[in-house]
Symmetry: C2
Subunit: 353 residues, 2 copies
Amino acid sequence: MTTSVRQTRPPQPTLEMVAEVAGVSRATVSRVVNGSTRVGPEIVAAVTTAVEELNYVPNRAARSLASRQTQALALVVPEDMTRFFGDPYFAAVVQGITRRLDQSDFTLNLLVASSDPQHKTLRYLRSGNVDGALIISHHTGDDFVAELETTMPVVFGGRPANADNLEAYFVDVDNAAGADLGTQRLVDLGRRRIGTVTGSADMPAGIDRLTGFLRALERAGIPTDAVEHGDFTVQGGAAATRRLLERCPDIDGLFVASDLMGTGALDVLREHGRSVPGDVAVVGFDDSPAATRGSVPLTTVSQPSEEMGFAMADVLLRRLADDADDDDDDDDDDESVPHRTIMPTRLVLRESA
Amino acid sequence: MTTSVRQTRPPQPTLEMVAEVAGVSRATVSRVVNGSTRVGPEIVAAVTTAVEELNYVPNRAARSLASRQTQALALVVPEDMTRFFGDPYFAAVVQGITRRLDQSDFTLNLLVASSDPQHKTLRYLRSGNVDGALIISHHTGDDFVAELETTMPVVFGGRPANADNLEAYFVDVDNAAGADLGTQRLVDLGRRRIGTVTGSADMPAGIDRLTGFLRALERAGIPTDAVEHGDFTVQGGAAATRRLLERCPDIDGLFVASDLMGTGALDVLREHGRSVPGDVAVVGFDDSPAATRGSVPLTTVSQPSEEMGFAMADVLLRRLADDADDDDDDDDDDESVPHRTIMPTRLVLRESA
DNA sequence: CTGTGCTTTGAGAGCGCTCTCACGAATTGT
DNA sequence: ACAATTCGTGAGAGCGCTCTCAAAGCACAG
């Protein structure tokens, strides 16, 4: 019985100790632990027994120092904590990433880089804590990204804002096709006076969705003047809808670039005495929980957030694997990992259109 | 202009390189980088210049190997991803932890240990990735905790399930007192047929809140049979409320062990045509954003989730600091870090009761 | 019996850092 | 004045692991 207040924790077993117990060399234990095939079966057995007996777990720091890799990835989210936790989109993406990572032995480090001075995040990443980074919800102002890219492989979720960056790897949803799809639904419904509330004009997702909307209308030979800009918030969506209704009181179809804005639009429509989908059919985008929270369940363009997360992790892992192979033969071998991965969208029919 | 497909990343500068540029020894650079005061001012300047010139960032793995500590903590959440992201409680706790950590130079590793074989998580922790662990939402079945505690300092958020563990450090809210407070509100309102939807029976928070509820009812001389078990989810709360209504259609007061379940209860109550607080007064627990999201703003027992996170990190950091000091003088110095930290609750009056 | 080629194993050199120790210089006491 | 102490600095030994390289073992051909 120890009366000492603070019991010293037993030191973790080391490779050396395992080697001694198994009666082999350190190198051999390392081979067994790392699953090398070129080791005699009875030696494998002896080592395995020793490992279990000592309850040995390799030390990450040592391994990482020697092998110059960490088996860890970072997910960087330049967003504040509240926003991050509040948005189901992030939950889905993280879920997808971990699903992919569970198949490997990489681990994930979540970096919600909110208010905190981003230099701290950058420092963390640069100190060799991870082999690569995943970046989502990246805003135009986030310049630390450029520096990060010189340090390690990076994969974006969503097309990066600076268009000049053709070297960037990213996974995105086909926003234009999705918007086209959603708009086409309105056309198919026989609507002929169709407007849109766009997303932020300075974000790729906002721009691309407008592009898709215009494409669908032009194809149908419908005038494309009923466009009002929103900003991906409920309030912004409501205001844009109000302006639209004033300018084009006769609209009978409305494509809103996000479900969140869609709920704002729904409120304004009802406030103006328009029935949905009777007077005005409405299509949203995202298929977020917000879609079903409003007065009328929104028909919406669904994007595969979970799959996006999975794909992001997959692309990064493949880049990492490629880098590892290309030790000697660095000639023009065929590019195996695509720079851009575009995910499909699909229409989810509910009541609003 | 390089046509090579894959540009090799420049190697990170090392201490050695900085030493050479500054014209001093490796040891001295280390001293400057780690802020030792016992270095001549002009040497500090020379080193600082060299560090900036080379854009040097210390390598974590090497530092951690040599110093035998990582400057990182883990937050272990034995819960699935959906649950974790869905509950604002976790967001608040994480926020509190990071607020404390921002004052130190520790970093946080989030381990949402859901479905994933917990051995992977345990392995990760045991491979020396972190100096200590924070555990929240810990269920009775989670036995890996015992093993973890032999490896590193652990601090719990919420009283740990196994009561025999008197050595455990934890931060908890006074759940029983809070539940008592909330239930008393219903009594004060003149309600005489009061029921409850409990939390998970395998979690101390669930148990303690039930205890407080029962205590308040017994004190008021009210029967304590209207108890239904929930599981801290919206669906579970709704189901429990439905059962309760069926069994005791005459209840006029309801204490729900979490706001999330409270919103579920509110829905069911409305669906059964009961007005709140008219027919049934409802009191929740947590004071989470969910409290104001339902049809009726919930009167609720507020617990300082963010403060709890802060306190947890604080306790762990202090334990770590203590361990570091106790190299030589290990005599019976007074216990500076308390094993248990109990935070107060308070009642927040809104419309539901 | 020697030579060739293959496979299995061990020895040992780092990976980038911290930390102890020793040494010379500067400071103080007597 | 010289011994004693302090202070700033560098040398060097690891931390626990990986990985290259060479040695040892073995098979088979000549």
